[in-house]
Amino acid sequence: MDKLRDLTIKKFHRELLDKKFSALEITQDFFKYIDVRDKEIDAYLSLREDEALREAGAVDVALAAGENINVLSGVPLAIKDNMLIYGGPTTGGSKILENYKAAYDSTVISKLKDKGAVFLGKTNMDEFAMGSSTENSAFKVTKNPHDLTRVPGGSSGGSAAAVASHMAIAALGSDTGGSIRQPASFCGVVGLKPTYGAVSRFGLMAMASSLDQIGPLTKTVEDAAILFKAIAGVDKRDSTSVEREYGDSLTNPKLEDIRNLTVGIPDEYFRDGLDKEVSEAVTGAIKDLESLGIKFKKVSLSHTKDALSVYYIIMPAEVSTNLSRFDGIRYGTREEAKNLSDLYFENKGAGFGAEVKRRIILGTFVLSAGYHDAYYAKAQKVRRLIKEDFEKVFDSGVDVILTPVASTPAFKIGEKTDDPMQMYLSDIFTIPVNLAGLPGISIPVRGREGKLPVGFQLIGKPFREADILGIGQFYEKLGEQQR
C-alpha cells in the first residue's frame, strides 16, 4: 500500500526503468488494493483486470527487449465512464447505457494506448456528467476518501476519489462547468481543464458540446502536465480541436519565466458566500506564491454574477439536443412500446434519472418558440461579455488569474440532493472558465494535513496551459523544500 501511495507518474517511470518492479507486478498490486479499498470508496463502476494485465505485460516485454518506453508506459490510470474504451462497458453513469459496450476507442484513449498506458477501470460519475457530487450516478454513491460521510465532488467524482485514495496513479475526467476542478478541490488532488479545443472530444459522451473538455486528475501538477501533453492535439474527428506546439515549457518550467508573470485577483470571487476556511486557505496560497517573486494585481470581472444563469441556460439547451440520441433505436436499453413515438417516451422516461430529465425540460424550454430570444439568445450575448471580461484583464498585463475553486470544502452526502439550485451554486467559480473557453487548474492548498482539502484555481490565457502548470509546479516545490 505505501508503495502505491508514493507513486506519481514521474516516480513510477523512474522506478520501472530501475527495475524496482515490473509493470505487471504493480498492476496486480493495484487490483489487490482496489479489491479492498473500493468497498468503502465506490470509485469504480467497472474494472478491466484481464485487459490491464495484458497491457502491463506488453510494457514489460518491450522493456526486456531494450525498447525505449514512454513516460506513461505501464502507468495505471482510471478513466471516467463517459469515455469509450473499445470492447468495454461505458455507461456514462446512466441506466440507459447499462449494457452498452464501446464499439471504438475515444481519441484520448487511442493516444494513451500508443504510449503504453494501462487502464485499470472506469470510474463513477454523475449521470452524463450532470451534477456536482457524483450522487446523480444511476449505480452508486462515491465517497470522499478524506471523510466517507462527504461527497467527492462531481461530476468526475470517481476519478478524483480513485486518485486521492491511491487506487490509480492518475485519471482522466471531463469538465463542462467544473467537473474536473471541483472534485479535485474536494479530494485534494490536481485537476486541469484544458483550453476549449486543446483536447479532442471524439469518443467522449457529449453533454454540452461548446463547453466540454477532457483533462487529467493527478497527484502532482507535474503529472498533470505530462498527461495533458499526451492527450492534447488536433484530431480530424473533432473539428473544434486545434494543434498547438507546447514544447518543453509544460513539463520543464523555468523559474525566471514564472517570476515574470503577473497574477490577477478578481474581487468578485472573494465576496460574501465564500467559506472562511476556503478564504483563509486561498489567501495562504497567494502568500506562498508571493514568496516565489510572483507579482499580484487586483482585477475585476464584472459579469461574474451572471455566469451561473448563462451556464444554466446554454448548458441545458445543448443537453436537450445532445441527449435526444438516447432514443433506444441503435444502442442502449429498449423499453416495450407499441409504436416508434411511444418508444421515445418510454425509453427516456425509464432510462434517464431525475437531474437529466430536469435539464432536458429546462433546455427544451429555453429553446422553445417564444422563449428562445429571452433566454438562449440573451445568454449567448452575456456569454460574450463574460469572455470579454477575461480578455480585458489579460490585455491589461495580467497573465494568470487566481480564484477559489469552490466556495466550501466537500459537503455531506445528501446535503444538497433535494435542492438543485443549491447544488448548481457549488460551481459558481468554475463555470466562467468554461463559458470563456479558458484553461483552468485546481491545485490543493498545501499544509492542510488532517483537514478537508481545499483547492485554489489558476486560470490562464487560451492555450497558455504552460503558465498555470508552471506556477503550480513551483508552488509544489515550495512544499518539498519544507518537508
Partner: protein, 92 residues
Amino acid sequence: MDLNVDYMAKLARVKLTEKEEKKFSNDLVKILDHFKDLQAVDTEGVAPLTGGHNLKSVMREDKAEPFKDGEELREAFPDRDGNYLKVPPVFE
C-alpha cells in the same frame, strides 16, 4: 413564469411520472427566478457567442472511411434481424 413542464416533456419526448412533474415545476420556478437578473444586463450591440471559441470553420475532404466491419455497431442494436436494425412500427 409560464413553463409548462408537461408540454416541454411532450416536445422532448420524455415520459415523466406525476411526482417528477410536480417536483420539476417547483424546481424550475426557482431556477427561472434566478435567471431574472440576466434581463437587466445591457447587451445592446453584443453579438451572441455561439461556440467554445472564435476559431474559423474547419474544412476537410468529404470522404467516407470504412468503420471496421460494422459488426461492433450491429452488436449494440437492441433488436435485430440479421444485419437489419429492428424498430417498432412507425404507425400502429
